[in-house]
Subunit: 406 residues, 2 copies
Amino acid sequence: MVGKDRFFSDLGRSYKPGIITEIVLAAFEMAKKGKKLISLTGGSYDPPSLPVAEIREVLQEVPDTAWREILQYGSNQGYWRLRDALSKFMKGSEITVDPEREVLVTTGSQQALDLISRVFINEGDIIGVGSPTYLAALSAFKQFSPRFLTIPVGDEGLNLGALEEELERLRREGKGMKMLYVVPSFQNPTGVVMPQPNRRRLLEMAEEHDFLIVEDNPYGYIAFEGEPPTPIKAFDEGGRVIYLSTFSKIVSPGLRIGWVAAEEEIVKKLAIAKSAVDLCSDGLSQYVASELLSRGVVERQVRKVTDVYREKRDLMLESMEVYFPKEAEWNRPRGGLFLWVRLPEGVDASEMVFEAVERGVAYIPGSNFFTDPSKTNYMRLNYSFPSKEGIVEGIKILGDLLKERV
Amino acid sequence: MVGKDRFFSDLGRSYKPGIITEIVLAAFEMAKKGKKLISLTGGSYDPPSLPVAEIREVLQEVPDTAWREILQYGSNQGYWRLRDALSKFMKGSEITVDPEREVLVTTGSQQALDLISRVFINEGDIIGVGSPTYLAALSAFKQFSPRFLTIPVGDEGLNLGALEEELERLRREGKGMKMLYVVPSFQNPTGVVMPQPNRRRLLEMAEEHDFLIVEDNPYGYIAFEGEPPTPIKAFDEGGRVIYLSTFSKIVSPGLRIGWVAAEEEIVKKLAIAKSAVDLCSDGLSQYVASELLSRGVVERQVRKVTDVYREKRDLMLESMEVYFPKEAEWNRPRGGLFLWVRLPEGVDASEMVFEAVERGVAYIPGSNFFTDPSKTNYMRLNYSFPSKEGIVEGIKILGDLLKERV
């Protein structure tokens, strides 16, 4: 059978298996050999915390009339009761939007990122991203060949001084940045939080330099110390913020429930794009999601996982104190799901990961979170998914490996 | 608040509300005024036939271990048990594929069409489509600016003689068609079936002229007379057929369960594209789908809706005999969900539809199914969704309106 590669488009050719695929495949090989693998990779949910009983209860009580709606084609904008419930939920984050016009349900936030890419990015458009930032957002944007403007992420999130300089430079060149992608609360992968004054300043800059802000907020709810940070969207007078959030980290990743809150003109456009892409989202999970919201299950789950993840974070940090070499540095995240580790220059975490998998632990090499793949001395570690034993054991294995390498 | 139109990309600008949106909005207005609207528009499921009891039963019996899998992130290629069950199901259509390598689960067939568009279509690539053909496929392809080669669809489907001429003409110009999109069984909108000899000839032509075939088969199962036609994929030695099918017409549209069967190289590429687009599909509906398959519910549903839709087709045809003017012509579909009506030249069904909605019945104007929007004297009528009373009443209202116009 002749290969089909000659038929692929340029975009088709750009789709290559990523590092995560390779790690997953290596993990699969381990499982086949009957060897254990501790996963500190993805942002999966703490298994015992999954709201199984609550979802079972919802499903037992679905009325006949609801079934008729669930099992037919739905609105491309999303199940109306879910949009209603989401707009009430967002009030808890001080965001006020009209569920009829300003909310779109998506198949997780990934779909929102993909729709945004389609609807906004022409080839060569300048898109600002943090360095580092969420890797799957980069994958979505890259499909439409933007020019990335990378802004360093420091202890207070995006370095606004650096951003200002870049914007001024662009202005002198007669150009402008169209859109900025930011994860301001417990950023993936660094865990940092953009302070409130910076958020207001960013909105002012968006107004001055005429750009849109894509605010991605999957983790903001999981705050270990004090209240969840108020989203940028809460102060968005100019309608420049396209706010994304999701159930994936607070309720369940598998239900694929994400949403967008934005100005009507933008939501309508994204909804039309969505109808070209999958017509509408799954009716059953949208119904379940709306019930979990109206029954207060989501808020209870947020509190539950916040407590569980705080404990797991503490355990991982303690284990790292014991087992990691002093040459490794890491943050102490005040929320979210991940730890970010910096190794000495010259230690290649991308190459090291396969040895780690052989020894029974997997992590995500940090280079994937930069547009510049040469930054290889970082690792992202997840604590939400592994068991407590897995955390201690995984950190010990990694620590031993690091001691050989640093 | 300043408008955001200046931020939209070229692709973003191309997304405009379609005729269906306008009809839906008009229908909504009718509902608000408390007026009844009989919908002969979409391909929705006969409401009493929806497998509500069967799905309830499946959900009551989900074991704990399955919940843990359902609610976490899944494989971008789809739930393995569902791929297994789909490959067994496809054996009933004489298609043999490896569920591990050659099957991809998608969010309905629309997602499959979108992924195929991304992975194969460069701007200017020549894509063959029938005239008329499924409008949402055209929407998916258009996103990547192909050049459409339109081939007339006659009583036996795509006119292969016309296709051969076009391919020869392209060859003389030093060009070639990359891909052909075909709905060979109870085509949407014409209802025609491509006979088996033509299917073999088409495969030969694909080999001679080196193109891929996207075979879209949502309706083939719903055959009113005799056995369902054997898909082209069943004879695909060269791996040139990308086969699409879906639960939407046989089980439930709202579950959003579609799938692709194709050569491994193609499935792997589509799966990578899918991870950029939504990471993975919803776990709950995939689980339900795999259970419905393994319990034999899907096959029972196929038989059930085939009987129901045969009756409804007959009722619609009888009503049209009584109420439609003699100047209107229509087919007698041997399967599927739709009737295709041709009106005299000069009657504009696109303009007429709003008057029809005012009078209480909606249909899809046929111009939407052509790449050339000037063909306005066709209507597509759906019989799967409306009640029997709705069919008779809707046809009477339409008939009265037509008599005023022809």
